[in-house]
């Protein structure tokens, strides 16, 4: 069952007096439970695709559906709802709120989604798996980069999103921590069936995915 369906997706930015064609007719289908890596050089358009999939920016044209819901016609409020309910983000720079503890960084995502019930047993297992169950009362500055990224993963999946979008999740990590994070993403994908779409420029990271597609000059090609 397809969870992401993209057809002829285009995105054009205006930069000064010049139109920049970041995406030039992208077509992509991702199945539910798939772990897909999108690889490409800087400026290839992979981050733009990530931003459109995450509802952070609208496309210029084309159609895009996540879990059956069309993003093409969504206004800002609709894209906000999409981010709240259907998408979980993991960023290269972790993007944790520095004033909150690990527990609160996870809980704020639940609060934004309007959920107040305690964490279920499955999520507690995920925390154990991520190795952060014993560090819930620490602030981000008290954690290593790898630990912060694992907290970001926990926050991204706490609301059981349809897709987990990871943008260069290992970009700021050393090899050991990179492998640990990628292992965890793969493990989560296999154990919980979480669909993962990972953007990376690193072929070694992409090797952890089930499938890899190549982004070049705003177009997708099979790797």
């Amino acid at each position: 069952m397809a969870i992401i369906e993209i057809d002829n997706l285009r995105k054009t930015f205006r930069s000064g007096d010049v139109d920049v064609h970041a995406l030039r007719g992208v077509n992509l289908v991702v199945q539910k439970g798939e772990f897909l890596a999108v690889v490409g050089r800087s400026g290839s358009g992979k981050s733009t695709l990530f931003h459109i999939l995450g509802g952070l920016t609208p496309p210029t044209s084309g159609t895009i559906k996540i879990d059956g819901q069309s993003l093409t016609s969504l206004d800002e409020a609709g894209r906000t709802r999409l981010r709240r309910n259907s998408v979980g983000f993991v960023f290269q720079k972790y993007n944790l709120l520095p004033t909150l503890t690990v527990r609160d960084n996870i809980d704020i995502a639940r609060d934004i989604a309007g959920r107040s019930e305690p964490w279920d047993a499955t999520f507690l297992e995920v925390l154990e798996l991520l190795g952060i169950a014993q560090k819930l009362d620490r602030k981000p500055r008290q954690l290593s980069g790898g630990e912060q990224q694992r907290v970001a993963i926990a926050r991204a999946i706490v609301n059981q999103p349809a897709i987990l979008l990871a943008d260069e999740p290992t970009g700021n990590l050393d090899t050991e921590n990179s492998n640990m994070v990628l292992d965890l993403l793969r493990h989560l994908n296999k154990k919980t069936g979480q669909t993962v779409l990972m953007i990376t420029h690193d072929p070694e990271a992409a090797a952890f995915a089930d499938r890899t597609v190549q982004m070049r000059d705003g177009e997708l090609h099979s790797a």
Binding site: G54, L56, R83, N95, L97
Partner: protein
């Protein structure tokens, strides 16, 4: 959860929080100090008027009910008042302004002492010589005067002959005849305090006097004391209005600057919240709550600082000013400050709420 974030944000920048709270509190203190001084001085004036021990007072035609008055009443009225059969004692008072709200009072010492139940001298004693002055203990403390010290006022030196416990109409008293002479107002007085044989007859005596002296304001002392109210001082009310407006402006500017800086500083964090699905209302709610909390802390600081101003006044200028703590103004001043703070946060909060998630996430 939002409250936790708000609390942690405030805790994360303790100096900013403290300075913003103190600055917001200054507006509250300004209002509470001004209202407190107004109320305190009127209350002090009322207490001192009670200390005269009179039942009624006859004032000069056209004089203000709570004003100091001047030497404008013909002293012959005193003979008429003393002639009333219910009157057991009538004593004239002369008031001469020495600048601002300060004044010096001329009394017939023995009469005044008899009416008021006598002075309680902390040091020294009664007026005996023409250049003698008696002062109350607060005035002595403020001016650092002792018995035998020289007090320079009305272009001459006076010898302090006694320091009495405050609460007897005035802080500085000299012989009435000397005051009249110096003010070139021989035969003129400011008011007459009257003691009756039976206080229950006060209104009847006033009614009778008003028949004969229709132009003279005559008040029962209790009635007069009730007039010592901010409501009877339109200038003070107007000034309070000005200070309230300044406090709103102050709160507005402080919160505007503090929250504008906070929004700029937290651009990336706002982007994170938006990426997690927070809508404009959620972001707006965080900043509004933070402002309300700052305003509450600021109001508490302001209330605490108003005790500080009261201490300063009582310590350094106890005779010139009295500040009361007016509890009923605590919620008023706090709400006014809150209103200013909310006005101040509106622009930064709307700016934050409208921030683009993607741009905010790219902010370093």
């Amino acid at each position: 959860m939002v409250y936790k974030l708000v609390y942690e944000n405030l805790k994360h920048r303790p100096v900013r929080t403290l300075l913003s709270s103190l600055a917001i509190g200054l507006g509250v203190t300004m209002m509470l100090a001004l209202v407190g001084v107004g109320e305190g001085m009127l209350e002090d004036q009322a207490n001192r008027a009670r200390g005269v021990g009179a039942d009624l007072v006859v004032r000069a035609p056209g004089s203000s009910v709570v004003g100091m008055g001047s030497l404008s009443m013909n002293q012959k009225i005193l003979d008429y008042v003393r002639a009333q059969k219910q009157v057991t004692l009538a004593t004239p008072i002369g008031v001469h302004s020495t600048g601002g709200v300060s004044s010096i009072m001329g009394i017939n010492y023995d009469e005044f002492a008899a009416m008021s139940g006598g002075f309680r001298f902390r040091e020294g004693g009664k007026l005996t010589a023409p250049d003698d002055v008696i002062i109350d203990d607060l005035y002595a403390r403020e001016k650092k005067l002792k018995v035998g010290s020289l007090l320079h006022t009305m272009n001459r030196d006076w010898r302090v002959s006694g320091i009495f416990a405050s609460g007897k109409l005035a802080r500085v008293m000299i012989p009435l005849t000397v005051l009249q002479e110096l003010a070139s107002a021989n035969g003129k007085i400011t008011m007459i305090y009257v003691k009756l044989d039976n206080p229950a007859n006060t209104q009847a005596v006033i009614n009778a006097m008003k028949q004969d002296l229709p132009e003279y304001p005559i008040y029962a002392m209790e009635e007069l004391i009730k007039q010592f109210s901010v409501n009877n001082l339109p200038e003070l009310k107007a000034f309070i209005g000005v200070v309230v407006s300044l406090a709103v402006l102050f709160g507005f500017l402080v919160v505007f600057l503090a929250m504008y800086t906070a929004v700029l500083e937290r651009t990336r964090e706002i982007g994170i919240l938006k990426a997690l699905g927070a809508g404009p209302g959620y972001v707006l709610g965080i900043l509004l709550r933070e402002t309300v909390l700052l305003a509450i802390i600021g109001s508490l600081c302001g209330i605490a600082m108003s005790y500080g101003t009261r201490w300063l006044i009582a310590t350094f200028i106890p005779a010139s000013m009295v500040q009361a703590i007016v509890y009923s103004w605590w919620p008023i001043a706090s709400l006014i400050t809150l209103a200013g703070a909310i006005l101040g946060v509106l622009y930064p909060a709307l700016k934050a709420a409208r921030q683009d998630a993607l741009d905010s996430l790219s902010y370093d």
